[in-house]
């Protein structure tokens, strides 16, 4: 707790942190609002014809999957924030000062990991709230059926935040870490996955970060996609996602404990 209050002192007056948090919440609400409105408008225009193909993704129970799926596209932001929080310490050399002042190395790194977990939990809570509001707005009654997607979303959030922390811990330099983080999330991840799917017998979905992405499949046009693509094995996706989270955690702690600060 003492270390979390130290972390709070660092964040409380850090403007970039609050800007990014604000942007993240705005993007969560905005992306879901836009998708919802799009669905409403297209349904009206097709006089309900599209609904036959698309289903009712924003009504309970499907809304759990729809909102977590749409929100997952904004998860790069908390991961990005974690990259900034750790590389800031490296560039200000305050990670050194914290240790010099008597903080144990493990205390320092565990506090950062706690921050990643807290950010993931907060993201998940916001998404649950959005889901409930959206589901009720769409005129359906609340149901917990399908809410397992909330757990998948949390795992995905942990993958992004711990992934960001890992990258920052390994590379130390903020510019380089941010660039590689964004390029991996936006491009390399999909390229590797595509190449592996094509040339290595369909294991592309089980790569780091990608496996957590695929935990929540696309909720729209389910009927159509089901006939076109064979979905990856859900159990394996879950196992791989958890394995990667544990691996990220282990490498971060090990690395920080043994490296020259």
């Amino acid at each position: 707790m003492k270390n979390l209050s130290i972390e709070w002192l660092k964040l409380k007056n850090y403007r970039t942190f609050w800007w990014l948090i604000g942007l993240f919440v705005l993007c969560l609400i905005g992306s879901n609002y836009i998708t919802y409105q799009l669905k409403v408008v297209t349904s009206e225009q097709s006089r309900g014809g599209l609904d036959l193909l698309m289903g009712n993704p924003f009504r309970f129970p499907d809304v759990w999957q729809a909102v977590t799926y749409v929100s997952s596209y904004v998860l790069f932001l908390p991961g990005f924030l974690m990259v900034i929080l750790i590389t800031n310490e490296y560039s200000f050399k305050t990670h050194r000062q914290n240790v010099i002042d008597g903080m144990r190395r493990t205390e320092f790194v565990m506090t950062k990991i706690c921050m990643a977990v807290i950010l993931s939990i907060i993201s998940t809570i916001i998404v649950v709230l959005i889901t409930i509001v959206t589901g009720l707005t769409a005129g359906s009654s609340f149901s917990l059926e399908g809410s397992v997607y909330v757990l998948y979303f949390l795992l995905q959030a942990l993958t992004y935040t711990l992934g960001g922390l890992l990258l920052g811990t390994l590379l130390k330099k903020s510019g380089l870490s941010i660039a590689i983080y964004l390029i991996y999330i936006g491009f390399i991840k999909n390229l590797i996955s595509f190449l592996l799917d094509r040339y290595a017998g369909g294991i592309g979905s089980y790569m780091p970060v990608k496996s957590s992405d695929e935990l929540i499949p696309m909720p729209f046009f389910k009927q159509v996609t089901r006939t076109l693509i064979t979905p990856p094995d859900g159990t394996w996706l879950l196992i791989m996602t958890i394995l990667f989270i544990v691996a990220f955690y282990w490498i971060i702690v090990k690395r920080f404990k043994t490296q020259d600060l």
Partner: protein, 297 residues
């Protein structure tokens, strides 16, 4: 109560092919101002980095404040390592609040410490708005939090103007006078001579000498002699009472001798009696620089 606050045994560390520290061993006595003297890149910061746990040694051990828990020892040690490390977007006060919380020190101590380093009026200013000298003083202020028994100061006067340098030196002497031990690294011989009681000299990662400043930097007096026949002169000098050794230099002989046994008059008389007439007899005080260069070369 032990009289040693820091004991370093066989510390070695390399960065790839570069051997930064080689088998360093020495002890810092309680109450001393211990200078670590060496040119830039000699391994001073690496050594201080190891004892403050920011760097990992390849081999060797250290004991800080006779404590088996190094994390606890660090809380009782005030350290300025290399550069002042603070959060630029936080005020001086808030930065020290973080240090105080880590060290487990009351925040009531922050104002007195800021006052001592002359930054109380600027306590609400962001660290990023500080000049280099102010940053350095804030770092020394942070080191003073918690009334530490031991202060580790790495190049504490770096980047300060002459006034600032004088202030910091006075501050350091004052701290030692209060019974604290100060371990400071410096590449300035003059600084070590003016401030320190003890010194360890390192170069290229090797410890060349350590002990009290008097012992290590003791300047030996040398007498320069000339005569018509230098060979004859060199032949008779070893018979002189208190003789140390001889060197040849640019047409003169440099004589190392215990002046308490054979003074200048006695030397002149001795040479004349042995049939050598001196044309030149001068006492040369060896400078501290010469002594330092002698050790480091």
């Amino acid at each position: 109560m032990s009289t040693t606050v820091l004991s370093i045994q066989h510390l070695s560390k390399s960065y790839g092919a570069l051997q930064a520290l080689q088998d360093i061993t020495f002890e810092v006595p309680k109450g001393s101002i211990y200078g670590i003297l060496g040119p830039n890149g000699s391994g001073k910061t690496t050594m201080l980095g190891i004892i403050t746990d920011v760097l990992r040694a390849d081999s060797g051990q250290y004991t800080l404040l006779n404590n088996t828990d190094p994390d606890l020892s660090r809380k009782k040690t005030g350290t300025l390592l290399e550069t002042p490390n603070f959060y630029p977007y936080l005020s001086a006060y808030k930065n020290l609040e973080i240090s105080a919380l880590i060290k487990g020190v009351s925040t009531m101590e922050i104002d007195p410490v800021l006052d001592r380093v002359g930054l109380l009026a600027r306590k609400k200013s962001k660290f990023s708005t500080f000049s280099l000298g102010m940053k350095q003083r804030l770092a020394i202020g942070a080191a003073l939090l918690g009334n530490p028994e031991l202060l580790i100061l790495d190049e504490p006067t770096n980047g300060l103007d002459p006034n600032g340098i004088a202030e910091i030196r006075t501050l350091i002497k004052g701290l030692a006078a209060e019974g604290r031990t100060v371990l400071m690294a410096s590449h300035l011989l003059d600084e070590v001579e003016k401030v320190c009681t003890h010194v360890a000299i390192i170069k290229n990662g090797k410890l060349l000498a350590s002990g009290s400043v008097g012992e290590v930097l003791a300047s030996e007096d040398v007498i320069a002699l000339r005569s018509a026949d230098l060979d004859q002169l060199s032949g008779i000098l070893p018979g002189l009472p208190g003789f140390g050794r001889l060197e040849w230099q640019n047409g003169q002989v440099l004589l190392h001798v215990d002046l308490g046994i054979s003074g200048l008059e006695a030397i002149n008389k001795y040479c004349f009696e042995k049939g050598v007439v001196l044309t030149h007899l001068v006492l040369q005080r060896a400078s501290l620089e010469a002594r330092f260069l002698e050790i480091t070369h």
